[in-house]
Amino acid sequence: MAAPDTAATDDRTGTGPGVSTDRTAATAAAPSPPVRTQQLRRMNATGGGRSLPLLTVPALVLYLFWTVVPIVFVFVFAFFDYRGILDFVASDSLVDADRFSGLDNFRLVLTDAVFLQALRNTAIQVGVAVPLMLPLAFMLGYYLDRRPPGWRVLSVFFFTPGLISISIKGTIFYAMLSPNGGLNGVLDAVGLGNGGAVDLTTAWYADPRTALGVIIFADLWQGIGWTGVLFAARLSAVPVELYEAAAVDGASEWRRMWGVAFGVVKGYFGTMVMLQFLWTLFNSAPIVYILTGGGPGTATTTLSFLVYQKAFQQQQIGYSQVVGIVLFLFGVAGLVAIRRAFRQAY
C-alpha cells in the first residue's frame, strides 16, 4: 500500500491543509462500537451522566403522549367496532363496552380479498422500491463524493425532490402521466402513440398494468437523489487514502465503490435502508390517494392507504386499526432483519 498523500487529499477536498489528515486520524482513532459502549457506561457510572435523564424528560413526555398512547390505542381499537370518527364523538369514553367486538375485526381483515391484495401490493412496492433505490442512491452518492465538475449544483439538483411536498409531487406526476400529459405527448410525437405503428400511450395511473409502477416510480424519483446526497455527505468522511491504496492494488472503480466505500459506511447504509423501508411501508398513502385513489380496482391499494380508506372513507375504524397492527408488525420485523443484514462489521 502507498503512504497517505496528505497534499493530494487536501487538493481533492478543498478544505485546506490538515483537515483531511485530522479526519483520517479521527477515523483511525474512533473506537469500535462495543468499546465505545463500555467507555460511555464507565462515564455514566462515575457520575458524568447522572443529570442526563433529566434533560430527556420533555422529549419523553411528548413521546409518551403523542406516540406511545396512540400506539396503545391502535391495539385497543382493533377490538372495537366504531363506525367512523363521529362515533368517537358520540361516545362517552374512548373505550365503549357496547362496541367491543372481540376478534371480529381480525377475522374480517384476514379473510378480506382487498386486504390480501393490499398486502401483495405493499410487498411489491417495498420489495421493488427499496432494493432499487438504495444501491442507485449509493452509487449516486459515491459519484458526487468524487467531486465531479459541477458537483455542488448536481447535489442541489438531486436533493430538490426531497424538498417537494407530496401535493406538488402528485401534481408533477399528474401533469406528466395523465392521458393528456407530457409522457403521452412525447410518445405521440415520436410515433409511439395513437395512430403510430405501436401505441404505447395509456392512462398510466389508471391502468392496472402500470398504476403500481407509477407509485413505485414516484418513490424512486424522490428517494434516489435525496438519499444519494446523504450518502455523499457520509462518504466525504471516508479517508481518501483507502481509495488510493485500493487503486494501487489494482481495484477498479466498481471495486472501490462496493469493496471499500460500502464496507466503511455499511452501518450508515443500513440506517438508510431502514428509513426508506419505513417511509415506503408507512407513508405511501398520501401519494396513492392523490394519484390513484387506490385504484383502478385495488391495483394500488397499499396497507398504508387501506388504513386511511377504512378509517376515513368507509368508517370502519376497527378494520383500519387491525391493518395498522399488521403494518406495525411488518415494520418491526423489517427493522430487525435490516439491522441484522447491515450491521457494521467493525
Binding site: 364523538v89 374512548l94 368507509q314
Partner: protein, 441 residues
C-alpha cells in the same frame, strides 16, 4: 354528488387527533357556541357551505347573506367547506366547533350525520315554519332517510339537478349523424361514424365521480328500481343476472370505442374542458355545468351551447327496464341541514330566519337566474331560466329517470369509484362485478 376526487390529507389526519383529544376530554360536541352558554342573543350564525368561492352559487349565497345580515342584524360566519365539506364538517364537529347550519349535498358521509347525531331531523320545523307547501313533495321525499316515507327528514332540500347527456349536434352532423341516438344500436352506429370521421365520441371522467355515475347509469339498464337500490347498497352484483347484463352492456359499449382514448385516467374537469372546446361529441354532465358552459362560450366565442342538444343515455330497444333514454334527475343536490347547536333555544330563531330568507321568491329567482338552479321551491321561475341549456333541461321529455346511486352507495362511494375506473380500462364483466361486490361489502 359533485366532489373532488381528492380530499385534504391534513384535514383527515387532524380529524383523528382532534377527535381523540376532544373525546378524551369529555367534550359533548356543543362547544364553540359561546352565545349559547351566555344565554344572550345570537349575534353570529355559523354556516358551513359546500359552494366554493368563485362559483356562481357562492356569489349568490354571499349576496343573500349580506341582505340577511342587513335585515336581521345577525352576522353570518360563512365557512367555505368546499368539495370536501364532509371532512371539513366532521373535523369541526370533532373539535367541538360545529356550525349551526350546513349547506351540503346528500352524499357519502353526509348521509350518516343524522344517525350520528351531529345534525337533527327537521320534520317538525318543516311544518312549524310553514315550508310543507313551499318545498316540493318529491324533494322532501328524497331527503328522507332511505328515501322512505317513514324516514326522518335530514334537511331542507334547496337545489335539484338534471344530469343528461350533452350531444354536440355540429360534430354529429360532421360525422353524418342527423339525430341524437336513443337506442344502443343508434349509439353504436353513432360511435362508428364519429370514429370514422376522426371525432372523439364520448368523454367522461373515468377516474372520478362523473365516470362512476355514468357507469351506474348504464349497468342499471336491466334492473328495476328496487333491485338497483338493493344492489347499490348491499352488493351481490355477480349473483344478479340483471347486473351482469348491464355490466356486459357497459363493456360492449366501451369495447366498441364509445369513450375517448385512455378515458380511465380522465377527470370531470378534463371532460368539461374537452367538451366545451369541441374536443368530443358527447358527455354526461349535470345542470351545474350549464353556467360554466355559457361562460366558456362567452370567453372563447365558441358555439358549444348553441350546438348542444340535451337528451338521455340510449337504452336497448325492446329490452331492459327503460323504454326511453335515461337521465338522473333529483333534488339531493344541495340542502340545509341543522345541527344541535343550530336548534339550541336561543339560536333556533336565527336559523329559522336564515332558512326562510332562502325560500323567498326573489332569492330563489336569483339562484335560478345566476346559478342555473333547478329548484324544488314552489313558484314560477321559468322566466328566470335564461340559460338556454337550463331552459332545455326544464323541458326535457322522452326520458326516463335512472336511480342515482349516491344515497344507496353511502360511504362505499370511493371504493366503488376505484372499480368503475377499472371498468373504463379493459377489465371484463366478471372482474368488474367481483370488484363491485368487494367494494360494497
Amino acid at each position: 354528488m359533485i366532489r373532488s376526487p381528492r380530499s385534504h390529507w391534513a384535514a383527515a389526519a387532524a380529524t383523528v387527533a382532534v377527535a381523540l383529544t376532544a373525546t378524551a376530554c369529555g367534550s359533548d360536541g356543543d362547544a364553540g357556541a359561546a352565545d349559547d352558554e351566555s344565554g344572550g342573543s345570537v349575534e353570529t350564525l355559523s354556516v358551513m357551505s359546500r359552494w366554493t368561492a368563485g362559483t356562481p352559487e357562492y356569489d349568490v349565497l354571499q349576496s343573500v347573506i349580506e341582505a340577511y345580515t342587513e335585515e336581521t342584524g345577525t352576522a353570518v360566519e360563512l365557512i367555505d367547506g368546499g368539495e370536501d365539506i364532509d371532512v371539513t364538517f366532521e373535523t369541526a364537529v370533532a373539535a367541538g366547533q360545529s356550525p349551526d347550519v350546513v349547506v351540503v349535498n346528500l352524499f357519502d358521509k353526509s348521509l350518516g350525520w343524522l344517525d350520528a347525531g351531529v345534525t337533527v331531523p327537521v320534520d317538525d320545523y318543516l311544518s312549524e315554519w310553514g315550508l310543507e307547501d313551499k318545498i316540493s313533495e318529491q324533494a322532501v321525499q328524497e331527503w328522507r332517510v332511505g328515501q322512505s316515507v317513514d324516514g326522518a327528514l335530514q334537511g331542507f332540500p334547496y337545489s335539484g339537478f338534471s344530469w343528461p347527456v350533452w350531444y354536440n349536434t355540429e360534430l354529429l352532423a360532421a360525422a353524418g349523424v342527423d339525430e341524437v341516438p336513443t337506442t344502443v344500436d343508434d349509439l353504436l352506429a353513432t360511435t362508428e361514424a364519429l370514429s370514422a370521421a376522426g371525432i372523439p365520441p364520448m368523454i367522461v371522467g373515468g377516474s372520478d365521480w362523473s365516470g362512476q355515475k355514468l357507469f351506474f347509469q348504464i349497468i342499471q339498464t336491466y334492473m328495476d328500481t328496487e333491485e338497483a337500490q338493493t344492489l347499490f347498497s348491499d352488493g351481490g352484483y355477480c349473483d344478479s343476472d340483471a347486473a351482469l347484463q348491464g355490466i356486459e352492456l357497459f363493456v360492449q359499449l366501451r369495447d366498441a370505442g364509445l369513450f375517448v382514448d385512455n378515458v380511465a385516467g380522465l377527470t370531470a374537469d378534463d371532460m368539461n374542458n374537452t367538451y366545451f372546446s369541441g374536443g368530443a361529441a358527447m358527455m354526461p354532465a349535470g345542470s351545474w355545468a350549464f353556467a360554466p358552459a355559457l361562460a366558456a362560450d362567452e370567453e372563447t366565442g365558441g358555439t358549444v351551447v348553441d350546438s348542444t342538444e340535451l337528451a338521455g343515455f340510449p337504452v336497448p330497444a325492446g329490452e331492459g327496464t327503460f323504454d326511453e333514454p335515461t337521465v338522473y334527475q333529483g333534488f339531493t343536490g344541495v340542502g340545509f341541514m341543522l345541527t344541535p347547536d343550530g336548534v339550541a333555544e336561543d339560536r333556533i330563531g336565527a336559523s329559522r330566519s336564515f332558512i326562510e330568507t332562502f325560500m323567498q321568491d326573489d332569492v330563489v329567482s336569483q339562484f335560478v337566474a345566476e346559478a342555473n338552479f333547478l329548484t324544488p321551491i314552489a313558484g314560477d321561475y321559468a322566466d328566470d331560466a335564461t340559460n338556454p341549456l337550463l331552459e332545455e333541461a326544464l323541458q326535457l321529455d322522452g326520458v326516463a329517470p335512472a336511480v342515482l346511486p349516491d344515497v344507496w352507495l353511502g360511504v362505499n362511494s370511493d371504493p366503488v369509484t376505484q372499480v368503475s375506473t377499472l371498468a373504463y380500462g379493459d377489465a371484463d364483466a366478471q372482474a368488474v362485478c367481483s370488484g363491485l361486490d368487494s367494494a360494497t361489502s
